[in-house]
Assembly symmetry: D2
Homo-oligomer: 306 residues x 4
């Protein structure tokens, strides 16, 4: 088990008549990612709303802030019980066996224009053996073809742009890898959270964008920018791409200060808490969604009427 | 009340090893669009799956078809109880009052790149009085700047493409209008269904793509391509854009024959059934989602802890 | 007559192993733009090359600079004898009457993708009366739809980008206007030189990008960004777009300091030198290229053999 | 020596009020490509104009045709004296040694957006040994990443599009190869002419688009689509890209029939005429443009005044 003590501090200066914010900075609560304690502080006497999206479990914090400084602090203790699996045994899921709520993740989205990359993806990866190793090949291809450079892209940058420009940050690596997976009908989604173990020369601890791919009836973690140790990532949200799970969406005239993030792993051999490490196994913080044999199917003997 | 007798016939030739399909051709079941009788027939002894998406109520039919001909027939009787409202009284909803499940519809999507159109939308519509009339101005702008022409676009065509090329089909008019609304933080979604009352010179009865905009806490119908009588539209699905609610998504080597669609309105003055007509009122088949005063808010006197 | 005293100072810091430069900062020598005195100074003992392009008369300075500082000073006295004409009398030139060397300026180029704007240009301007006034309508449209903002674009920005983003600098206004003219088969070219009379709040005196349009068998000046007094512009080069007539193309690792530019008009009523002023007449620094009746044509009685 | 007997027949139906045409179908006259006999026939009593562009030697035929059928026949006998060279001995030319009229061919153009591909080209080819073999590596990369398919692109398709879509015709292979060369500061230009020796399954004899790259002070032929035997190509024109050297540019409402092309090589061992064959040597139909030592340079002892 991995335990992370998380502390996030966000600061803004709000001009004019106030501003609206939608944050997605709460650790997701899943069977494998338990949020034991959690605290949110705001320097303004605001009445925020919390909303948990039904499909993804993403937790959104929505608030209207008055002019002046806005400080937001979020702290939590998160326990991660990773599912580890032998990559060799993880197969791709045929379209006809995909749960319906997963199928949306093979469709193109704003920053992952998979519909434009079908030939490219099939040329590069179409003849590879299907399964986890093919997705690893896609991840390696993205790592090999894109250079990591801070401030080399912006919020409009899409997978197509990154494919041409060959440079980006973690968000761009994720978008390109997702687009290539979807072009092969492999469901892939964008995940956000906090980084762990990144090279300090890349900057102070930061938010992290990475990828989850649906293989073997489960969402597995991939980190195409390769900047951290995935076992230490705390997940905030998952979505089609960055448009769905922006850390902070701001409406109004606002100056943003750099986020201050602290993610510390707690080691305690007595109760099995270890530090995150690079592992060769496939990694997931999701439950299996393998359908029971009886589920979702109707015999054609029954009248086809709904 | 409007009653539509609907009949849809789809035919495919499947080569090779069979093919997977996801259809979204079932009429949506909403408080204002009641599906009284419904029948689905398939010429192959297939066990399909039905899936109703939790957020949107879209109904998806997923099946694996064997090689050879696939014929699918869907018939239904649909009763539409439209909400009509005086456009002058319909206001835009401030971001801080938007229900959380609506906020996603101001974000950009694959074919509606609103993030690239913020200056354009503000230049063109930023100074107009907010409300239903501003959305009408957007719709009129799209109608004025884009020419309708069959086969002038393809499934990759996006709002940005249409903005430049100035030509398209109903799908393209919808994408551009949606992108412009979202660029102004007005929630807008893509709707699909069947057309009604279109000029026969534009071709035989067809599927229809149109727009729903969230105004006055309700989704109102707009038809930017102006090809039909919106009061007669039967709605299948709503989504971010065409990627979410494709009529048919096909996986495999398949030849597609033209769909045959029949949508007939039933007139019966005895029980108040009238024929669809062009009306000046704002039109909706959705319920109000105005939040109760107590909902979604927490007093800041309470500790800010989740 | 307008007399401009021009002084340009460029400074660079060259790292590593030296760098190559191609400059286009010499005032063009044309019948209507006479360069009476001219001086170039370089702080490095370099042997540069001068090249005058046959088609355009653009003068390029090509040099290889050693590591360290490179300073380049160019001063010249330029006399401008403008051709002024009544806009009402200036017609568009039919394609069949265009001189062959002009026809290339109706083709698309890197930053002026006129081939993508044919429908848009015809929708907006296709029904206007042909002639100088139609080109003025295009210029006004660009001014009305694009906002001037320093640092809002970069060297990759094209007419299509500006059309969507609705913001730019003089280079972007010029590219969009050129693309729209070409989409209507009106030859248009990109001109560079020095600004005159610009609002000091837009920054210190600078280089200027503007447009020349071929009308009435002559290239007329247009200034779609509207930042200066065109009668005071000194022309360096003309080309398809910014790719052809970059002020300075740099090969190597170089830091660039801001250019220092001084363009002063000399007034002398004794010999007819006036200060540049805004005029209602159409303005050109080019000779007429109206072909003589006999030119370019071969009687079809002659055998069609070359 | 290669001798080609060439016959081209073009047919059009002109609607309405007549149409203007600019053709570039005359074989270029160069020291190494001699046009011995040449004949042009037109079915309409038209007075066309011929224009030879000063920089490139391209010959343009400009005419205005009346409504009805337009038939144009061009026949010529062309002798090709190829310059063959050992690829190992052909170096890239440093920017500072490039003739000024060549430098324009490292700038981006409409369909060859090299300015967007600088990182990609340097990642893929930046570490290879400079020279002919590096350009061959670029050609091989394009061949490997793009699939040839008729009707897979259109006249708006650019190098960036082909890079993403991975499919195209000879024009698209050429544009992508040119863009990659220019991104490395290697001059490259678009060449048009007639194909020779293409696989008949790819269709009847056709026009051909290919590439010339400036290496070792000479333009060498490359055929990235690999559809023919380059030694048999007859060159019409060279330019920045397809915008410069369209086979036929048409202004007006015109229906175009398929061109009929016949290019037959004449064998005559008595006077050294052989049939075109695939050769390992580098191939050029251009003269060397190596500058004499004294040319283009001015001693810096001389006053730097022009």
């Amino acid at each position: 088990m991995i335990r992370i003590d998380l502390q996030i501090d966000l600061t803004y200066e709000i001009d004019g008549a106030g501003a609206d914010f939608v944050f997605n900075i709460h650790a997701a609560q899943t069977p494998n990612q338990r949020v034991s304690t959690e605290n949110l502080t705001l320097n303004q006497p605001i009445s925020p709303r919390m909303y948990t999206a039904p499909g993804t479990g993403n937790r959104y914090l929505q608030l209207h802030a008055a002019p002046g400084a806005l400080s937001l602090g979020y702290s939590a203790q998160i326990d991660l019980m990773h599912h580890l699996a032998d990559p060799v045994k993880i197969a791709e899921v045929p379209v006809c066996d995909m749960p319906p709520e997963v199928i949306g993740y093979i469709y193109p989205s704003r920053y992952c224009q998979s519909d434009l990359l079908i030939k490219l993806a099939n040329n590069e990866f179409g003849k590879l053996t299907q399964g986890y190793s093919r997705v690893q090949a896609i991840q390696d291809w993205v790592k090999r073809h894109v250079t990591f450079a801070l401030n080399s892209s912006n919020t409009n940058t899409s997978a197509i742009d990154t494919l041409i420009q060959r440079v980006g940050v973690c968000r761009d690596f994720a978008h390109l890898m997702i687009a290539l997976c979807r072009a092969l009908n492999i469901p892939a989604r964008f995940a956000t959270g906090t980084d762990y173990g990144a090279d300090p020369t890349l900057g102070p601890p930061d938010f992290q964008a990475y990828v989850e791919v649906y293989l073997g009836y489960r969402w597995y973690i991939f980190d195409p920018s390769g900047t951290g140790i995935p076992m230490g990532f705390v997940r905030f949200g998952t979505g089609r791409d960055a448009a769905d799970v922006s850390i902070a969406t701001v409406f109004g005239a606002v100056r943003t200060h750099a986020a201050v993030i602290r993610a510390v792993a707690v080691e305690n051999s007595a109760n099995g808490m270890v530090l995150p490490y690079f592992c060769d196994e496939a990694l997931s913080t999701d439950s299996s969604t393998m359908p029971a044999a009886s589920e979702f199917t109707q015999s054609s003997e029954q009248p086809l009427l709904w």
